[in-house]
Each structure stands twice: as C-alpha cells, then as structure tokens.
C-alpha cells in the first residue's frame, strides 16, 4: 500500500490474510505462564499508544483549542469548543477543497480501475513471453519511488526541453512549444492525475490478473457455448467471480487517492492558485504556512471522518475474512 504504501505504498496482496493458523484450532496447550503473551505484545502496545493513539488524541484535542504559533512556543492552549470547526465549515474555500478532493479521488479511482481491469484482461489473453514482458514493465512502474516519479514527471513536462512538449509540437500542436504545464491549474491537475494513475495501475492490474487466474476455464467455455459475447462473459462470469477482489482494490484505491499527499506537495504544493489543493494538502498548508495548528487539526479530523466511511467498509471486510482466523 502502502504506499503503497502506502507511507505504506502499494503492497502486494497479503498471502497472510487468508490462512487461519491450523495449529490453534487443533490443540489447546497449557501456556507456560499466563503473563508471557502480554509481555510479548507489550512493545507493540507501547508503540501504538505513543506513536499512533497519542497523536490521534492530540490532534482531536488541538482541534478544540486555540493553538497558534504562540501556544506552540509558550504552551498554555485554551479550549474554545467548536470554534475551529465552525471557522472551517463556514469557509467556502473548505467546501471547494472538499469538492475538489472528491472529484480528484473519483477521477483517479475510475481511471485506475478501468485501465487496471483492461490490462488484467489483456494479460490473461497474452502469450507467455509477451505476458512476462508486460508484467515486468508493470513491476518496474510499481517499484518506482514516489519522489523519483514526481521528479521524472517534472522533467517529462518541462517547458523548454521536456519530451512531452516536443512530441506535441511534432504532432502539429504548435501551441505547446515551450508550454509551461505547471503554471496552469488545470494542466497541473491533469499531470498529477496522470502520475497517480500511472503509479497505481500496476497494483490493480497485477492483483486482478492474479484473481483472474483462479477462475476455471470451464466456466468461460460454458458461457461461450451458451452464446455469450466478450462483454457478456465479463459481466456474467468474470465480474461476479471477482466481486470481492474488485471491492477490495477499489476501496484501497479510494483510501490511497483520497489521502495522497507527497505527489501533490512535491509538484505543486497545492497550487497554482490552489487548483490542486486536496484535503490533506489543505490541512498541512493551514498548519505549516499560516501557523493555525488548531484549524489544521480540525481539517485533519474532518478528513479522517470522511475517510472513515471507506475505512470502515474496508475493515469490516478484513474482519470478515479474518473471522476464521480469530
């Protein structure tokens, strides 16, 4: 994921999540001492408490305080109730950013799923050697670090010597001679979408292809015998068989695209003129440039709440899958 990771950028699907520990089911052995397991998980609990739970709580608390540069340096923040939230929610810019974030997420996810599915279906029909070539190419893209990719895309779309402008001019679009992509909001948005889609398709395509290989050939044959065309086979055989996998990948992509930060920050810092400011970028801008840590925290909390919809769906599925192993 993650990102990956995301941080956790794209990770391969976890082989771990399916197999229950068979050892546990079969025998109940007396444990050495009742404290041992708790000692073993203690470091994990301490780490989670200090590095995950505490920041989350701190974020929430800060969003109800007056916490600016003065409080950051001197301390002594006072509680102000929902003031920060009402400031955020009454700011039309916040709603513009929310709409933009939803549009950004929807556009990216639809493109990723569409291209990912097509590439996966293509992989299943290719000859052995060609398939290996495509898979290797996808793994190469997948392996490209986010920051390396942002640097490369800045070079590809560079105004004077960038190869994209050269190709466009060669193709007859003369207006693209020395065109500066990063000066315009829409074109920067377009480049960022291209970048994120380019980096995300391999995970979707390879995972879906992995799923496709588990569908038995007989199913396709009988569908064909019944006279189903290519699209009908996909609709009535492939898609229903892989519904779970589609749902999983879609929800992961929604989460990843929604909270995407590094790419946007490195390429445009949310500009030009805020055209690429999504919620995580917006929160960071408010806190870092305006020193309104309180309002930034409020935006972060709202971001998490919006994200929670996707997160809860995803967690529920994970628990269901893991139910057997618990």
């Amino acid at each position: 994921m993650p990102a990956a990771p995301p941080a956790a950028r794209r990770r391969p699907p976890q082989q771990a999540s399916v197999d229950p520990p068979p050892a546990l089911r079969r025998r109940r052995r007396p444990v050495l001492g009742a404290v041992w397991p708790y000692l073993l998980i203690a470091p994990t609990l301490v780490g989670t408490a200090f590095l995950l739970l505490y920041p989350l709580i701190r974020n929430t608390v800060m969003s109800f305080q007056h916490f600016r540069l003065g409080e950051l340096i001197r301390g002594g923040a006072t509680f102000v109730g929902f003031d920060n939230y009402s400031e955020v929610l009454n700011d039309p810019e916040f709603w513009t950013v929310v709409r933009r974030t939803l549009w950004w997420t929807a556009l990216n996810v639809v493109l990723i799923m569409l291209i990912g599915t097509l590439v996966a279906l293509m992989l299943a029909r290719l000859g052995k050697r060609m398939r290996l070539a495509v898979m290797s190419a996808l793994v190469l893209t997948w392996a490209t670090p986010v920051i390396a990719a942002t640097t490369i895309f800045q070079w590809l779309f560079q105004s004077r010597f960038g190869v994209v402008n050269w190709v466009l001019v060669e193709l007859g679009f003369d207006s693209y001679r020395d065109y500066s992509w990063f000066a315009d909001g829409n074109s920067t948005f377009f480049i960022l979408v291209t970048l994120v889609v380019w980096q995300s398709v391999p995970f979707a395509a390879l995972t879906l292809y992995g799923g496709l290989t588990t569908i038995s050939a007989e199913l396709y044959e009988s569908a064909r015998l019944d006279g189903a065309g290519g699209f009908q086979v996909f609709r009535h055989v492939t898609f229903p068989m892989l519904r779970q996998l589609f749902a999983l990948i879609t929800s992961l992509e929604v989460i990843w695209c929604f909270k995407c930060f590094a790419q946007i920050w490195v390429i445009s810092e949310g500009g030009p003129n805020g055209a690429t400011t999504t919620l995580p970028v917006y929160a960071f801008q408010i806190a870092q440039s305006l020193h309104k840590y309180d309002v930034g925290s409020a935006v972060s909390t709202l971001t998490v709440l919006i994200l929670l919809v996707a997160l809860v769906l995803n967690l529920r599925r994970m628990f269901q899958q893991e139910g057997a192993a618990l």
Partner: protein, 276 residues
Amino acid sequence: MTRSLRKVPLNLAALSVVAVSVFPVYWMVLTAFKPTVDIQADTPSFWPRHLTLDHFSTAVHADGFGTFWRNSLTVTLGAVLLSLAVALLAAFAVGRMRWRGRRAFILMVFTAQMAPWEALLIPMYVIARDTDMLDKLSMLTLVYFMTTLPFTIVTLRGFLAAIPVELEEAAQVDGCTRPQAFRRVTFPLLAPGLLSTSLFGFITAWNEFAFANTLIIKNQDARTLPVWLSSFSNVFGTDWGATMAASSLFMLPVLVVFLALQNRVTSGMTAGAVKG
C-alpha cells in the same frame, strides 16, 4: 494464420502498455547518461548515442549527498529492524499462544494498519517539538517503525501459521525449552518470511516523504534522500542530467529489492494458475 492475425491488436495493446510503463523510467536513466548538449538539443534523441558519467559525478559530489544517503539508510534500517523485532514477539504471541484479549489485539493491529498517517502530520510535528525530538533522525525512525509495524505483524503471523507447531513440540519433547525450540526450529524456517517482510518495510521507509519533510526542518544535515531529491531545483538548478542521475541512484536500492522479491510476489499471485 488468421489466428495469429487476430492476435495483432492484442499484442499491439500489450506493447503500448509496456511502452507507457517503461518510458518514464527509461527516459530518466537515458537523461542521466546523456551529455548536457544532447539533453538540451532541439530534437531529443531516444536512443543512447554518446554516454557520459558526468551527471552521476555531479550528483554524488553534490553537497551532503553522502550524509543524506547515510541518513536514509540509518532511518530505514533502524525502523525495519525495530519493527521486525517487536513484530516477531507479537506474532509469536498471536500465532502460538492462547490468551484473553488476543482477538481484541488482532483487531487493533488491523485497525492500525489502516491508520490515516497523512492526517497525523500536524500533531506529530507538535509532539516532536514538545519533546525536543524535532530535526532528529530518531524521531523519524520511530515514526517509520510505527507505520510499518502493523503490516509486519500481520505478515509474520501468516508466515508463522504456515510452520507446523508439531516441529516445535518435537523439539520440546527432545528436551528443548520453549524459547530454544523456537530459536532452533521455527526461527530458521521463518527466515525467508522475515526477509521478505522486512524488504517491504524497507521500501516503505526508504520512499517516505511527508513525515521526513515535516519533522526535519532546521537541521538540514538530518534530511533524508526523498526530501533532498524533492528540492532538486535548489540543488541542481536546471541541470536535468544531474537531477535524473540523482533520482536513478535513489531508485536503485528499491529496484534491487523488488527484483529480489519479484519471485515471491508473482509466485504468490500465480499460485492459483495451476488450478485453472
């Protein structure tokens, strides 16, 4: 004949996927090796003609390159080793023991795996500032440790479940204590799992940008490679050759790790293929 003809559009589509996937990376490497004259030519050349190592030398000799490389390595290795050690203990407790709260613990780990880290930049900055941990690599190491920990526990637990508990029991019958049985029997079998898990952690930490950018501000010597590379225009100006050389060097370890893992990744994915 007609069959192979029908395959033509499919193979063309495949080729274009390969081209779109590979081209940006190819262009990075090619630019890194091109002399500046060729980079700034009116008509770019798409094949390597004159190659030079000048840009790599510029990148390697850039101010602090060695320091940033070492910082990245320190933070990444520190985080990965720490999370491996902590996760191994937790995975053992979860996979090999029964205790009250086990279920709740697993649920907590799963939830932590979905943590919205991007939304925690601000409190993390404030906390680091309060505890005098700002601009310190140890803070970054701790954050990366926590971001990789849940994933590491979940994966290690899976690998552990694949090793029959009977092996350990046999060793205990032969006179080993439980920790000995684990160390001498299970641990060696777990080694490949440990390796591949840690490599994924390595990639995550090596590539991380947001926290490195937020938590290291004043002390420029404590920056890591991603942050340094993101500010390439301050470092190299418009020297795109050197910029591309630096990003090639940054990508190299990740690529090596991916190649080492590829077998595992694709074999896991194609395991089902045998059935079909």
